[in-house]
């Protein structure tokens, strides 16, 4: 049973780490703000989601599990808001030019 849990954890966390890596590469390589944001938010939300998913089987109690999920939800909320704001600023900067 614990072996199965460990396998799930390793698989999901590795997948999450891959998405983080992809997001970071996108952040560094993409040409402008909007595409960079795209790479960052898509990859980070998914990446963090997978990491949280992978850690859930390791959580000792329901409370710890809920804390993990709420971390993911809060990051989703913050990430979505901030990327909206950044995107709007970037677009305003472009139209001003």
């Amino acid at each position: 049973m614990s072996l199965a849990r460990d396998i799930i954890t390793i698989a999901a966390v590795s997948a999450g780490a891959f998405f983080f890596l992809a997001g970071t590469v996108g952040l560094l390589r993409f040409p402008d703000t909007l595409t960079r944001l795209h790479a960052l938010t898509k990859a980070d939300n998914l990446g963090l989601g997978l990491v949280v998913l992978g850690l859930l089987p390791q959580a000792g109690s329901l409370r710890d599990g809920l804390k993990l999920v709420s971390i993911w939800l809060l990051v989703l909320l913050a990430g979505a808001t901030v990327s909206q704001l950044i995107a709007r600023t970037a677009r305003q900067g472009e139209t001003a030019k």
């Binding site: 809060l74 909320l77 979505a80 808001t81 909206q84």
Partner: protein, 313 residues
């Protein structure tokens, strides 16, 4: 060399890389962003050092409120960047590098050659936990054994508020600190500022409450409450209160004031200044912390807002 050590070396290297970038990068704004990232990663180092209380503080301040403060200043100073052209000469740079490196080397030497086993007060602190019946040793040190430092530090916070306020133009004295923020009422920022504070307030109170026995406490919780307040201010949902308001003054003094009163109670009725009778220690400390979390949240929020700029109409 095991995997944990490798991780630690990589973490230290990334942190130092960010530190170098923060110092060396040309634009002030980028340096600020670099410092925020640096602060968040330093919080990870604190976790690795098994100091979760400090990690929470560092994340809330170094990466959070400190970052907001620095970013806000960088944004307001953007036009001023060109006026500063006095880059130091080669001699200055070389001697600065040499002397900083010398200091680092001396420190590193001192750290590496510290004898083992290291001295510690941990057993003493744990052995005296009966005095407060709180299980978090850091809270015990802050609120009981070194309570004087904590009280004086709250006075330092109050003085920094007075210092910031004293910079107000005379005609704005007593008015609202900082600029009035406006945001699109249907925009995402206002949406976030309506959605997040209820959650944030719960989290802040939870972190404060759990601080009695687990990592957390008044300062970390207060920092979260302050950030919720700042969010609402930035979204234009509320305004900073005028600094002349009596209730505001009470809130800002509540923490150190109650601390002082309880301390004097110990001097008058008990064994010593800032001594708690063991039976009452827990409620007294929690009472002080409730006052402190309010004071801290208000102080941090007002420090972010700055000096009074707009007089009351």
């Amino acid at each position: 060399m095991n995997i944990a050590t490798i991780f630690e070396i990589v973490l230290a290297a990334v942190v130092l890389g960010l530190g170098i970038w923060t110092i060396a990068v040309r634009e002030t704004y980028s340096a600020t962003v670099g410092f925020v990232a640096y602060g968040l990663l330093v919080a990870l180092i604190w976790v690795r050092l098994d100091a979760v209380d400090v990690a929470l503080t560092e994340a809330a301040i170094g990466g959070g409120l400190g970052g907001v403060l620095l970013l806000g200043a960088a944004a307001r100073l953007r036009d001023g960047e060109r006026t500063v052209a006095e880059t130091p000469g080669m001699v200055t740079r070389v001697s600065a590098v040499a002397l900083s490196a010398l200091t680092t080397a001396a420190l590193a030497g001192a750290i590496v050659f510290l004898p083992d086993p290291a001295p510690t007060l941990a057993p003493t602190v744990v052995g005296h936990a009966w005095a407060t019946s709180l299980a978090n040793p850091v809270t015990n040190v802050l609120m009981a054994f070194r309570a004087m430092d904590t009280m004086l530090e709250k006075v330092v916070l109050l003085l920094s508020i007075i210092g910031v306020w004293s910079l107000a133009p005379d005609n704005a004295w007593g008015g609202h600190p900082g600029p009035r923020h406006r945001a699109d009422p249907d925009g995402i920022l206002v949406f976030l500022a309506r959605l997040l504070p209820p959650i944030g307030i719960v989290v802040g109170i939870y972190i404060f409450w759990t601080g009695a026995n687990h990592p957390g406490g008044a300062f970390q919780g207060g920092a979260i409450l302050a950030s919720m307040w700042v969010l609402a201010i930035m979204a234009g949902l509320t305004d900073t209160p005028p600094v002349a308001r009596r209730w505001l003054r009470f809130v800002l003094v509540a923490g150190p004031g109650l601390f002082l009163l309880v301390g004097l109670g110990g001097l008058w009725f008990g064994t010593a200044f800032l001594a708690y009778p063991p039976a009452l220690a827990k409620p007294l400390i929690l009472g002080i912390e409730v006052a402190m979390i309010l004071t801290i949240a208000a102080t941090l929020g007002l420090l972010l807002a700055g000096a009074p700029e707009r007089s009351v109409k």
